[in-house]
């Protein structure tokens, strides 16, 4: 039987109403994965904002500061974390646009929402991989 509501007063068993099933009951769908991933990437990008501050401070600290920042980021662990931030930014922006479309009333249908969820996952992976490929093939650094 359903447990009484944790914050409500204790009621006799005959008055205990059933609660709707919680998240763990449902089979995972793309829309659910993308929904929670939007929140997780948003929090992760909060840590990314700290790296952005570190980057700006490193630039303002002259050659040594900048070199130490790049040396840290260029380690294998640094690059994995950087790819995480890159993917998070791609994903959060693409899914944010999906949310803005919803706010305008577009794309609410069950099948459309599922398709756009899969599209956002695929595009975010492609874009973040493309960004790394862009740098590794020597195309980056065009602002020097």
């Amino acid at each position: 039987m359903a447990a009484p509501h944790p914050t409500g007063p204790q009621k006799p068993a005959s008055l205990q109403r059933p609660l709707s099933p919680h998240l763990t009951i449902y089979r995972w769908a793309p829309t659910m994965i993308v929904s929670i991933a939007h929140r997780i990437t948003g929090v992760a990008l909060g840590a990314g904002a700290l790296v952005l501050a570190w980057w700006l401070v490193a630039i303002s600290n002259g050659p040594e500061g900048y070199q130490s920042f790049y040396a840290t980021v260029a380690t294998p662990l640094g690059l994995i974390v950087l790819f995480g931030f890159t993917w998070s930014l791609c994903f959060h922006m693409l899914n944010g646009i999906r949310h803005l479309a919803w706010d305008l009333g577009y794309g609410f249908g069950k099948s459309v929402a599922g398709q756009s969820a899969v599209l956002v996952i695929a595009l975010s992976l492609i874009l973040s991989a493309a960004a790394f490929a862009f740098v590794w093939t020597g195309h980056a650094g065009y602002l020097s």
Partner: protein, 126 residues
């Protein structure tokens, strides 16, 4: 059905949360602004990847670039504050812990923003 709200409550339009749709709307406004600003940021990060600090300094010392980076930082941190508030509202249910966390988020965001803006001013004066 007639409304259960008093006329004053209805004209204020703030609802049960006492803050109306202000949080929702600010989150959307900052989200819309972050689409072009975020694309510009990606252009900058890729453009400066693998270069020396000379390139980064001369790029960010330019007034338009410094302004855009400042706008990106401030909008990003505002959007982050609104988003983290939703996460805390959803998952933290004890009033004391909630207030402490919301305060910490605001202090951290203002500290981060101040550091970024000071770094930008310093870069511009290098």
């Amino acid at each position: 059905m007639s409304s259960l709200q008093t006329p004053l409550h209805r004209v204020q339009g703030l609802g049960a949360s006492h803050s109306g749709t202000g949080h929702f709307w600010r989150q959307r406004v900052t989200a819309v602004a972050l689409v072009p600003l975020g694309l510009w940021f990606a252009y900058v990060v890729l453009g400066l990847a693998g270069t020396t600090e000379v390139a980064a300094v001369s790029f960010l010392a330019h007034p338009w670039n410094a302004l855009l980076m400042a706008a990106f930082v401030v909008t990003l941190l505002y959007h982050l504050t609104l988003g983290l508030q939703v996460v805390i509202d959803d998952y933290v249910h004890t009033p004391g812990a909630k207030i402490v966390l919301l305060l910490l988020v605001r202090f951290a965001v203002i500290a981060t923003g101040s550091i970024c803006l000071f770094a930008l001013i310093r870069i511009a004066s290098l």
